[in-house]
């Protein structure tokens, strides 16, 4: 691949994978990083990006973003959501298998990858279904899914109720060294819950989801993990208890990792106070204690990644009584600002914050991506950490307008995103 020659200079390079945090230029040619620091002899840039005061880092890798295509194009499409991704600094998205049809055949996996490639914005890595049609009954063809490019297998938001099937699925995935992603939720304890079982649920009379719905599921998978030899990644944790359990498992040297959605690090159950369906998310926002524990989990490296848990919706999905609305936030474009907010308030250092968006998720997936060194694929994000902006429907790329952060002052904005050495997003400074 040819690709333009690009120099990015004047910015602070933060590349946690290689322990780099200093002002350094990078030089890109033929889709890869040609050099870091010193301009290669005879390098004539087609494009110079001067970015003093800005930060340049590997493009973000998202462990969970729903693209809605195929099957729910009325909500969003690969074109719209990969545009939103690069606007938010993401160059790679993992797409959970609950598309329609489900990603339980190589054809669906290949179709999603190919379409993303043809559109040429962010890359999409499909996550295959752990069981056929996500029904939790029969195993999917995991070997074929892996060959078709699936980076992991998961049952998405459809917990496997039958523990024998769960055990077999984990064993089978382990046979092909396929990562198992688990959004831990005990379906019986979840019941019809829609928000955290706590003070706000009691006041609003909304059915609650107890913390135990998550911890019981984590305990179950951890018990099976020793038996099955599977590599497990816990997706979108929401409570302090689960973080503790993962920390203990990591201490024991078990092959376990975990992530958290950026909005879980910022909000608590109290935001649901007036039945605002934009705050309807699963897992639910929990207590301040939980939120703080999740932040410490990221700061201490127990939670290797911050994901978007992006879920774009059409307007009607949120227009109903709270319990009848669809959960989820359209979040790709606000992850960076929310994460930088945690840096500003001293809950996270910048290096760790960027690691959680780059090297952390790459390590979870076992990919060499998420770093900037000579020879690595030039997936790069440049952002202005001080830029103040307000998200609204006019400067929004995702087709899903379901963000509770519209109208809020946000800090930190992506100015350039490069995928494979090509500039796929550029923000001029006017929002």
């Amino acid at each position: 691949m040819a690709g333009p020659r690009i120099a990015i200079s004047g910015a602070r390079l933060v590349d946690p994978a290689n322990g780099v945090d200093r002002q350094q230029s990078i030089y890109i040619a033929k889709g890869v990083v040609a050099a870091v620091g010193k301009r290669p002899d005879g390098f004539h840039a087609d494009r110079e990006i001067r970015a003093p005061g800005q930060i340049v880092c590997p493009g973000f890798i998202d462990l969970c973003a729903r693209i809605r295509e195929p099957g729910q194009e009325h909500k969003a499409t690969i074109a719209s959501e990969t545009a939103a991704a690069v606007a938010g600094g993401f160059t790679t998205l993992c797409c959970p298998p609950d598309t329609q049809p489900v990603i339980d055949t190589p054809a669906v996996a290949a179709m999603i990858r190919d379409r993303a490639e043809r559109i040429g914005k962010a890359r999409i890595l499909p996550v295959g279904a752990l069981t056929r049609a996500l029904r939790g009954e029969e195993l999917s063809e995991m070997r074929a899914l892996k060959k078709a490019g699936c980076v992991a297998a998961s049952n998405a938001h459809n917990p496997i109720a039958n523990t024998l099937v769960l055990r077999r699925a984990m064993e089978y995935a382990a046979s092909f060294d396929l990562l198992v992603m688990v959004r831990p939720e005990d379906p019986w304890l979840r019941n019809h819950g829609v928000i955290h079982e706590g003070l706000v649920a009691t006041r609003l009379g909304l059915p609650g989801i107890p913390e135990a719905a998550e911890t019981v599921a984590v305990a179950q998978v951890l018990a099976l993990l020793k038996q099955t030899g599977a590599r497990v990644h816990f997706a979108q944790l929401s409570c302090a208890g689960a973080v503790e359990m993962v920390a203990r498992a990591v201490d024991l040297g078990l092959p376990v990792s975990a992530d958290v959605a950026a909005h879980q690090l910022c909000l608590t159950e109290s935001v649901v106070g007036d039945y605002d369906s934009l705050y309807h998310v699963i897992p639910p926002f929990r207590t301040e204690l939980d939120r703080a524990a999740l932040c410490r989990g990221v700061a201490g490296g127990i939670l290797a990644a911050i994901c978007s848990d992006h879920q774009p919706h059409e307007e009607g999905a949120k227009l109903n009584a709270f319990s009848s609305t669809e959960p989820g936030i359209s979040s790709l474009e606000t992850v960076l600002s929310l994460t930088l907010g945690l840096v500003s308030s001293g809950q996270l250092d910048l290096f760790r914050a960027i690691a959680s968006l780059t090297h952390g998720p790459a390590t979870v997936l076992g990919l060499a991506a998420g770093q900037i060194k000579p020879g690595s694929v030039a997936d790069v994000c440049v952002f202005d950490p001080e830029a103040i902006w307000q998200a609204d429907s006019r400067n929004w790329c995702s087709r899903g307008l379901n963000s509770p952060f519209f109208g809020t002052e946000l800090k930190g904005r992506v100015t350039h995103t490069l995928v494979g050495g090509r500039i796929v997003h550029e923000w001029s400074g006017q929002s």
């Binding site: 706590g198 609003l204 009379g205 106070g273 007036d274 605002d276 009607g316 227009l319 319990s323």
Partner: protein, 327 residues
């Protein structure tokens, strides 16, 4: 980020615009509602012509997404006594399409130039959603939403207590039964706390109590005899038959043995204690007939006061706000 707006149901002058929850209303407002109801109670009981022309020309729609006979009837009667035109619309939730169904229903009926919706819905918060989407001149009254709120029931209960006990200070009140699923209990607790009663107790098994029940401002009891000791008011709750399935309770028999209100148990309360129930009663499940029909019972009086309270709330909500000129 949106902050919860406690004054959502009030207009700029602090007057009732909607009536959705006791939450956010102050003591003065609750007393004003009861005082207004007091003036209607006379009309209802004593006048040969039980009508006043306060809401003549107004159209009130009872929009019931959940079955109810008595609540709907008392709302209907209250509206008719205020000379309003009343339309009853029953929509089984199962029959309406999901998604935009609810909003479409409301917009369609609103287009017929109505002035007030009285809404009952099986989902908590549904009347808030409707109130947020109606035109400025339309008021929404919550006639019960999910587990959340049943504020007109709570107000008629407060009205009943005031009639029998005169004052709220120093009263000991026990609420017995399924607190977890009860919108009535939630609203009663809010109202009793706002009116400054001495103590509120809730009595029930753990499976029927919300988590952090104490956060509502109550003391929790699991034994009837302890909880009823020296109370002035016993407020029983209806036990939904479906709670008997789904591992909430083992049997009606055991429930009655533990939490049924019998004459023997009532002796633990003060001698002049009153017994209340929002109805309909499950005789022999939560209360025995001798108590329900006994001297302490004010259950039928509650029903009568319900009309006066609903007349008061409808009038206040219709007269407070500046009416946008709608053709």
């Amino acid at each position: 980020m949106n902050q919860p707006a406690p004054d959502f149901q009030l207009d700029a002058n602090g007057q009732l615009r909607h009536f959705l929850s006791i939450d956010g209303l102050d003591r003065e407002m609750l007393i004003r509602i009861m005082d207004t109801a007091e003036s209607f109670a006379g009309v209802v009981a004593d006048q040969p012509v039980k009508k006043v022309p306060l809401l003549r020309g107004k159209t009130i729609v009872n929009l019931f997404f959940e079955n109810s006979t008595r609540t709907r009837t008392t709302f209907e009667l209250a509206a008719k006594r205020l000379s309003a035109d009343v339309l009853n619309i029953n929509i089984e939730t199962s029959a309406t399409a999901k998604g935009e169904g609810l909003l479409d229903t409301v917009r369609n009926i609103q287009a017929m130039h109505v002035d007030m919706f009285v809404v009952r819905h099986s989902e908590s918060g549904a009347p808030y959603f409707i109130a947020r989407h109606v035109e400025p001149h339309v008021s929404v009254i919550n006639a019960g939403d999910g587990r959340h709120s049943h504020p007109t029931q709570a107000m008629l209960d407060m009205f009943t207590i005031r009639r029998y006990k005169r004052t709220f200070e120093d009263l000991q009140v026990a609420i017995v039964g399924d607190i977890l699923h009860s919108r009535v209990a939630r609203s009663q607790i809010l109202a009793l706390n706002t009116l400054g009663v001495g103590q509120i107790r809730v009595i029930g098994p753990r499976t029927l109590l919300p988590v952090d029940a104490e956060s509502l401002g109550v003391r929790v009891f699991h034994k009837m005899d302890d909880g009823l000791k020296d109370v002035d008011v016993v407020m029983m709750l209806r036990l939904q038959k479906e709670r008997m399935r789904g591992a909430m309770l083992p049997s009606e028999h055991e429930y009655f043995a533990c939490f049924g209100l019998t004459r023997e148990r009532l002796r633990f309360a003060k001698p002049d204690a009153i017994v209340m129930h929002p109805g309909p009663i499950n005789r022999g499940v939560e209360i025995e007939s001798r108590v329900a029909d006994g001297d302490s019972s004010v259950i039928l009086q509650q029903v009568g006061y319900g009309i006066a309270i609903r007349m008061a709330i409808m009038t206040m909500a219709m007269h407070s706000k500046p009416r946008g000129k709608k053709a």
